[in-house]
Symmetry: C2
Subunit: 514 residues, 2 copies
């Protein structure tokens, strides 16, 4: 990858230029719903008792250059990735073997697995499963300077920012082209005159997936029939609500599908599953209309993805309550488990059985090979593989990152710190960790971010591209909807302060392809 | 008017219903740009140093009932009103006679008039004038209970809330119809099942007027040609910016017209008028792009409407600078003067010359009569007319309000307080006041407002309907664009606290016609 692309980018800004861009961005964000509720840390105690205030989502002032070949490859592979994760979810035996091995080092995985086993014992009543996925990548700079697409992670639950990222693309497009006919919002720069970010259909794609599930559910299974709805399960006090609303607005206005939002803590209060009905329909009872009831076709989880959200047994009860119901889950417990880092590692292990080809038996082997190319090599730390040696040798450790399998379970360990870190814990815990070869991003990338408190930060950055996809399948593996569409660029400040804590920013961004 | 319409409206709300409506409204407002920047009083000092926060505009939770016959009459008369105010502005002699009489009691009017005289002396170089108007009314309950449309005021400058009022109509429409197929956002009530508020094309109408002026300006008058733009003149620290942005977005995206915003305090720094060019084009020099220059076709004033905005001679210089330029003014100084309360009073004086018929010579007399019907009787306090007697007699004073001619010049005086108030000032100042017969609104109207700090207030209300119109004409009176479209309902709390200060709210609302 020709790194010179980044050397004079973004162009310098005079104070008047920066003021113009910051004001235009702040105001555009509020006018168009590119917003978040403010972080409590941003506001003095008691400053917004009724929670009415909003602010711009953190965004970059400029779109970031991104290699076109990587962007297109990520899009081209998305429906294959969708299919892969559906196939993994269908293969309970294969999945279960890996998961059961994690149960004693990861109690979150253990509880999810227990939830699945409980429903399996009773018998699932819903054969359909919906995935709303985001596959995250970096543009890796290979030793010969060619850009290569490398996957960072694959999200099978609560894939976020689809609603807001489409807006960031509109914001940057407007800045690039305004005023019409004589664009001067940005200072002149060849890259900024080269075009606009590609179309971003994340909202259409994600809501299209939910609509497909809603339709596939079929008629009400209640007697008498109830009106049908999609239910968004959300976190109490969620700040990123406008990202959700972008999807529910489309479902309501375009598809005419009723959507309700329900905090995870209220699932057991406001939904019921009738055990006398063998279809076990999930019924939502809106507290603002006590005489109404809606049958839930599709439960869309924007909560319950992280261990810290399960504060008590009641949360696991609520999860089980939904899982055993007749609603289509997005995602099912099994599909959530398929997204754990350990699975990604098993798929990406450079040696050993060719799992990819087994799962993608119907796919052109050339395409399977391209998908495999997106993996950075990953290893477990068992005595049989290479991982242990690569992690413990100071020289090879330098090229790796050690990631905890457990979600929300602490930070990654980098390079020279890996050997000592591993030696400080009992070997029996090593299976909770995955070793991954480091991805090498463009060294000179820079951007300017507008934080959601209005602070403006300029610095070196690393960008991650996410591509959205959605798939609906049944437990026999039959796929009835498989779409790709929409993307996210998330750009993070690279700088760390003296205490070693990231002092920078994480912002929503868009791509200028080159 | 059958007041029973109002007696059980809006329906009562359980706590869960109110919470649902408030949350839905707050979130919808932020998602859709129905927003304002927060009042400093709402936030502790220093809580938002970068001015990033926004909140919902104050809105009613329910639409308000409004008589269909009044709504339709207001719309039907708008283009005639447009024509009337264009004709008044063209008749400098008639206008001047009234204005010159105010000069010694109203220094704001005096300074505007001086500005006009200065440009007149030098010679106007722009024959076109643009009006973006809002005519404000109340539904008056006549003694026989029929609803009658009565005008409160006619705004010829900075007619606001067109951008936001269209959004309130969308908000209420969505609440009335959601979820699709089984609407339950509101509790059941016959009026809420009767339909949705009528279409609101305020944004299209107002931006359409600006676009018509931009087009009528013709080619650049600079050598060499410059790109053309519309310039919004705004107040520093304006909180109602998203109302403006609704119009500029439409101008930019639909009409592809460059729009810039310029604080009134920076007019003299960032615009120039070349005296060597006989067309005196107004040139805008964007500080964020020093090598660029745009020729302003149309100056749209969202500032300089109130005396307190002219802080020094420099503001009057800036106003003169724009007025003498070749740009089309929205409005011109003369058109602003045509909107003063004294003019409205002269038109509405029940006895004396028939000014209306003179100004509207080409209009069907039956329509002129309908327009006259919208006037509440208004009087000056001269020795020759009836006004003085009506104001000083305690009995007749009870049916009137005394309004200061001067904008921003203190509050209205009501009913029994009028005689003593007048006697407390020298008779020479009486000509600065206008006596108006009180309009009698529906007594039982109620609504619930969500303030922009999130407080919820329920109470008796008075609503004012505004209808938007736009007209482009030249100094010979030839009209090239005359449109009506879009409306505003503004609903105010009627309660006053013990100190006599309005404790209630003023909110954006929409209409349910009956």
């Amino acid at each position: 990858m020709d790194d010179s692309m980044y050397t004079n980018y973004p162009p310098g800004l005079s104070p008047a230029q920066q003021e113009y861009l910051v004001t235009a961005t702040k105001d555009w964000a509020i006018q168009n719903g590119l917003t978040v509720r403010p972080n409590p840390a941003m506001l003095p105690e008691g400053a917004d008792p009724n929670r009415v205030l909003a602010t711009n989502a953190p965004v970059t002032l400029f779109p970031s250059p991104f290699p076109k070949v990587c962007f297109e490859e990520a899009r081209a592979l998305q429906t294959v990735y969708n299919e892969l994760y559906a196939a993994i979810t269908c293969n309970e035996e294969w999945l279960g073997k890996i998961i059961e091995d994690l149960v004693d080092v990861d109690d979150f995985v253990a509880n999810l697995w227990k939830t699945h086993l409980a429903v399996q014992k009773e018998g699932y009543v819903q054969n359909l499963s919906l995935g709303l996925y985001r596959s995250d990548y970096m543009a890796h700079v290979t030793p010969n300077n060619a850009p290569a697409l490398k996957q960072v992670e694959f999200n099978t639950i609560s894939s976020s920012f689809g609603g807001l990222s489409a807006l960031v693309r509109s914001l940057h497009t407007e800045l690039l082209t305004s005023p019409p006919g004589s664009p001067i919002s940005y200072p002149p720069h060849p890259l900024l005159q080269s075009g606009v970010p590609p179309e971003n259909t994340a909202v259409e794609t994600l809501s299209g997936g939910l609509a497909a599930a809603h339709k596939a559910y079929g008629p009400s299974r209640s007697t008498p029939d109830l009106p049908l709805c999609v239910l968004f399960i959300v976190q109490e006090g969620e700040r990123n609500v406008f990202d959700h609303y972008a999807l529910s607005k489309r479902l309501t206005q375009f598809y005419k599908i009723p959507v309700f939002r329900l905090a995870s803590s209220k699932i057991l209060d406001q939904t019921t599953v009738s055990n006398s009905n063998p279809s076990r329909p999930l019924i939502y009872h809106p507290p603002h209309s006590p005489e109404s009831a809606f049958e839930v076709t599709t439960v869309y989880l924007r909560a319950y993805y992280s261990p810290d959200e399960y504060k008590s047994e009641r949360d696991w009860e609520a999860r089980l309550h939904m899982e055993r119901s007749g609603a289509i889950k997005c995602p099912s417990v099994l599909n959530q488990l398929a997204g754990c880092k350990k699975i990604q590692q098993v798929l990406a292990e450079p040696t050993g059985p060719d799992h990819l080809s087994s799962f993608l038996g119907n796919v052109d082997p050339a395409i399977v090979a391209r998908l495999r190319e997106t993996f950075a090599p990953q290893y477990d730390l068992s005595t049989t593989g290479q991982g242990r040696e690569l992690a413990l040798s100071p020289e090879t450790a330098m090229k790796h990152v050690l990631k905890p399998q457990r979600e929300g379970g602490g930070n990654n360990i980098y390079k020279s710190e890996i050997p000592d870190f591993l030696r400080s814990m009992p070997e029996s815990d090593w299976k909770g960790w995955v070793l991954m070869e480091l991805i090498n991003p463009a060294a000179n990338a820079q951007n300017i971010a507008l934080r959601n408190d209005g602070e403006v930060l300029r610095g070196s950055v690393i960008s991650e591209l996410g591509v959205y996809g959605t798939i609906l399948w049944d437990k026999t593996g039959k796929i009835s909807h498989n779409e790709e569409g929409g993307w996210l660029l998330r750009t993070k400040g690279k700088e760390v302060n003296e205490g070693g804590v990231a002092a920078g920013f994480s912002s929503l961004d868009s791509v200028l392809l080159y």
